[in-house]
Symmetry: D2
Subunit: 425 residues, 4 copies
């Protein structure tokens, strides 16, 4: 039986080179404003140091592409195979995740040299004709790197939020778009229908987005925009964090154990709310989407509103009809901020906040993981996680699509995660 290809490699020759170069350059750009120390520290086990993200993405290309496919390839430093493997059991032992922040050496500069070495080797490799399988692996590596670009920003925000000096990462805004002040939230109605969900096999997608399959989408209404900070303050004012009946049982345990009283990164000073952002401490923007909330909080908010979160099917079926444009963190530039809001049809679907769905991250009917080590990419995480859709203001624009399934544990709050409401129709 032929080994199934993880996806269709559609990027060819010079295009692949250009794309590879561009993505690799963007990653370095993200670290340009970080000191060696900023890039080294790990602020919690769930987060990784910026330096580690830069090294691990290079390790991915070295391990998955160069070592098996470039004869005579010499590793930059053989011990990096141990240091920068994330979780691939099939390629050997690895450094313990909670200890990633202890690696003050190699220095950020040395990692930059590692990146150059891998880039030169890889570009040399793809200067020659390469098989579709290999092109597919490289494109996978590019998307993998884009995931880590987002994680690098997410993790830096967490690190800086732990510093009482509240340093700013960047001047350029990277934040979700606000809607018009106090605009009410419209809903779009969908009738019951059999819809097709999942990747259709023409462009790149991760294995977990396949196979495309039919599901019965019940009649429902989806909010045209995300829940705002203003609405979240109402939830808080109404005792949202104090009423156990609003919460899933595990969620209420978290509220009590972690003393949650507001979204992550919020604090109150003299009656006003502030929040920690990539631009440092900021007054809370009332009409921007709430962000840095867990699934448990999203679900409790929806219960408080006597509504619910959408399923990933409902979300994807709605998003299929909309253009995938948004507010992405692309090349360091941000699109202008049009007023999103109560217009006709769902808005803010892409590029503002990751939207929690009520769907557990589980295999689609007929799912088969990719062959080889990259088969560990998604499938083994299919327990204990919920799907988020749409991408956030720190997601690279070219990295998102309607079928994209992000996933995190229901108590995770450090992602740029928000809420879109749904209800039965």
């Amino acid at each position: 039986m032929a080994t199934p290809m993880p996806f269709n490699p559609t990027t060819e020759g010079a295009d692949l080179q250009r794309r590879y170069r561009e993505i690799r350059r963007q990653s370095c750009g993200l670290a340009a404003q970080l000191s060696d120390a900023d890039a080294t520290v790990q602020s919690m086990p769930d987060a990784s140091p910026a330096k580690w993200h830069l090294a691990h993405t290079s390790w991915f290309f070295e391990t998955m592409v160069l070592l098996p496919h470039e004869s005579g390839y010499t590793q930059f430093e053989p011990r990096y195979g141990f240091l920068f493997n994330s979780y691939y059991e099939s390629v050997g032992a690895r450094h313990a995740r909670p200890k990633r922040g202890l690696l003050t050496r190699p220095a950020l500069e040395e990692i930059a040299r590692y990146r150059e070495y891998v880039d030169e080797s890889l570009l040399r490799l793809i200067d020659r004709p390469v098989s579709p399988q290999l092109r597919a692996l490289i494109e996978l590596g590019c998307h993998h790197e884009q995931q880590h670009q987002e994680l690098l920003l997410t993790d830096i925000l967490h690190l800086f939020s732990e510093n009482p000096l509240r340093p700013a990462y960047a001047v350029t805004p990277r934040r979700p778009r606000a809607v018009a002040p106090d605009s009410s939230c419209g809903y779009t109605q969908y009738e019951e229908a059999t819809v097709e969900i999942g990747h259709d096999g023409e462009d790149f997608a991760f294995d977990c987005e396949s196979p495309r399959h039919r599901v019965i989408r019940p009649a429902c209404r989806l909010a045209n925009r995300c829940v705002t900070n203003r609405e979240w303050l109402e939830f808080m004012a109404d005792g949202g964090y104090e009423q156990p009946l609003l919460w899933l049982s595990d969620g209420w345990t978290q509220v009590q154990n972690q003393a949650w009283k507001s979204p992550l990164y919020w604090w109150e000073e003299q009656g006003a709310y502030f929040t920690m952002t990539l631009h440092g401490a900021q007054a809370l923007e009332l009409d921007a989407p709430v962000t840095h909330v867990s699934y448990f909080e999203a679900d409790a908010f929806a219960t408080w509103r006597k509504q619910r979160l959408p399923t990933e099917y409902e979300w994807e079926a709605a998003a299929q009809r909309e253009p995938c444009t948004g507010n992405f963190a692309d090349s360091g530039l941000l699109r202008p901020l049009p007023a999103a809001g109560s217009g006709s049809g769902p808005q803010q679907l892409f590029g503002d906040v990751w939207e929690w769905t009520r769907s557990s991250f589980s295999p689609y009917p007929g799912f088969r993981p990719s062959a080889g080590a990259v088969g560990e990419y998604n499938g083994k995480f299919m327990s204990g996680q919920y799907v988020l859709r749409g991408g956030s203001c720190v997601t690279p624009a070219e990295h998102i699509r309607a079928t994209y399934r992000n996933f995190f544990r229901p108590d995770a709050r450090w992602q740029f995660s928000g809420v879109r409401l749904a209800e039965d129709a």
Copy 2:
């Protein structure tokens, strides 16, 4: 708006009295072989003392039925409201779950008196004409008590397994039926179809089994019997507990942290395997279904066999066609043990072991929790749990049905939980 009734109360008048009496009597019967100490100790936070089960089920009738519906009802002991509330936030404060085993008082005898007091009060109440709503609540209480009958046995087995003397709970066999020795496992094929899933509203069911709705069941094959202990030994011999690539990521963490090497309750002595049962230590019965395995183990076993677990839809659609008869723990009597196995069509569906499905416990489309305190029964547990189907050898026979959704965390092993394999067709 009228309060929706949690289900249709179909048991009327004298029948309800008979049923109530019978179920309450069975619970006492289960504790008849326990000492005061046996009935008091809590062997882990997930388990509860037998005495607590006997008291809590009485508290349920007192709190949900007698206090709101019997004017002038005097509580047996007002402080029991605090001691024996399990998790109902809406009815007040409660004793901490991990401390249930510290209540050496009230003694088992005192709990027996409490039960008699509640029984007399409740039978007096339903001696008068009662509303359908009230009958529904009482029937809910009966099913609630049947759940705790099973938990009582499950928890006693765990307690006794922790005792190096390995005491036996009972002589009467309560164990899953074995198949014919070494019989191969046949499969039943199902074509893709739109099927109806969920409770149809005529008999009793919990709120989470509704509403009935259509889903697209993909083409698949389901094993005609459960995985046996003999097959599990092959998995172990092949290094099943040592190969990370077979496991979900969270599962592998458990294998390492808990040093799992076999199902719960197994041990090896001089080359032979033994297991702790309600009848004390027993040589492992090779052709009986494997039991006391977690979801993580069930999933790893299926991966090792290049198969998968069924979804709850696949299971229910298959079970709709089969008679709900089995090997239940009913009235202390067990059905004879016919050889189950490779016959035509799925067997061992009901009453041997709870079968893990790959479906997370989540709300059906249009799900609405019951009104009132009993609305906390199921909905708030809809995160972090997987659905199990079919009932086990310690489930009361009248308590099971094809639409029944049991649920536990993926690392839970102390239930009578086993595995039926499935595969894409």
Copy 3:
């Protein structure tokens, strides 16, 4: 070299038999008011079930005396060797301490039979002439049993304190003597002197009380009575539990982590303080010695008073001059409660509360542990513990003496532990 005897066996023949019988009988008496469940549950890892105390003390005689010294002795139940070994590494494996409460079997009745069996065997053995070494071992076993008599009461109080019903263990008072209301506390002055400390070798003593040796006792003053509950309330009212500067660093960590706000077992209701005792809930007796305080609390209280705790040398030198009479829990009878207080010379030295000293539990110069398994009795605990002196209202009267060194961790609160103040002179 001859094996050193652990102490001088001074109790001979019929006296030894009488003493053995009496002590063994007293232990059973302590359990007479307990149910099987009361005697089985372990309320925290530091505590042991009453049943375990009764079995372990029998195991001690069986293992240390009968097995090595009675040829042909048959164990009552060989598996008890594993179940009831406390911490003797030299006599084999043992059941994990935190799991002692899971042993619902053997039942309390069965342990009673075990005790009878051991008693008959041992009395038969000492009916014959026995060596001094053997008599010494039996006397050690008697004192060991007396220690466990006190622990049984201490642990039962803890268990009952965890029960919201607050059951009473006994009607007979077992509590520290109060002083005359509001009496001021006098001090006794001691001049600097070289004093002799430690056991002089004529009567029974544990190995850690030897050898007797000279120390330089500085000039000091010791309080004539213990700190009272009334004084402790003043400490609380003055913010004693809120001022970090009063506390040892580790103590302050405990205050914060455990949310200490008063001695263990106290609570406030409508402005009055109550405390849990062996007689159930009681209004706080203001002129009784404070009890159930940790070393950290004792030390903080002394700092608040600009005083200090005595060293064990100061305490012992003072107690050598006083008669060893007190308020002991002897044979279930309590001495009358004379008013203790500000009279001349230290009072309440013996039999009210164990008095924390500022001395770490460490070896006396020239200390050598007893030979054999009983050498594990004390020496291996000589780290992380503080010495307490004097015995409490639940200490058997014949078990105490001026040289006795009890020891507990500085955060332990469940013992009958109190405070006597000292200061430099």
Copy 4:
């Protein structure tokens, strides 16, 4: 009542300036070989980042000297008061200790500027005539800084030991002196005597070294040198880490929980032992003193040898007769390494390894903490710690003396801690 001075300030005028400058310069020198990242990361809660040590010692001068004694002094950065307070409750809130490693800002360079600012301010202050009290505080600050110089090196070694690349901190040797190969260990005999212990009040000493007082030193013998790595290998080969009877009870718990099998930083490769040092990975030097052992290990080793650890009294009485010269880490230069060993009289007393004593860290008779915030320096740590004597190869030479009492918890291993044996005579 006059405030007692913490010690006699004997360093005057220009001498004080010279000394201050020199010590401050040495601290910077220690960090010269560290990157910003090296200086930022905290490898465990017990350790602190190098940057933190540099900042905290400056904070000490700013808070204890400049703010109270220099009118009009402006803080370099007011928020540093929160960030760099270690444990002084009396001077306000502080950053949580386990989070010290999250402060990637301020950068190492910024801390260097902070140091310069404090230095200029302080030197300006002491350019004017200053009171003895103030001189005393400054001298205390100098000794405080020397303590942190040692901790900086100790903590860097721990950090680098956690890095699989095993980086070297320095080329210059900083290691304990070896003795002549295989030399046997002589003992010096001491007769029972009343000796004077503690600081005599003429030079600088910490408050816990006072008051000088008499103790009865029993007849004993002290080893003339420290236990060597060669001897430790014999202990290991004889199953030292596998025999519970050699260990204190708490020590054996650590051996099992932490899987101790050798001193910290050792590992085996193909039959030979290596150890992590400030110079990177090194083959184990067999005749050098064992180092990085806990009190528990030191005590077990002594028990294995049927000997014991010395008391701090025995050690100090012996050291009073010896010159305080050794192998100190002074100004980056190390003394030559003469062969230490079995000569007459104790050797290696100062400057090789800190020597565990069997004495708990407790107050001397008549001890009074210094007045003011510096009173928190020692007294509040007087529980749960053991005294170490003599100073190590990373202790500044001018910082040590015979009365010096260092203290750590009995499970601490990351200090340069070793063992000198003693026995009763």
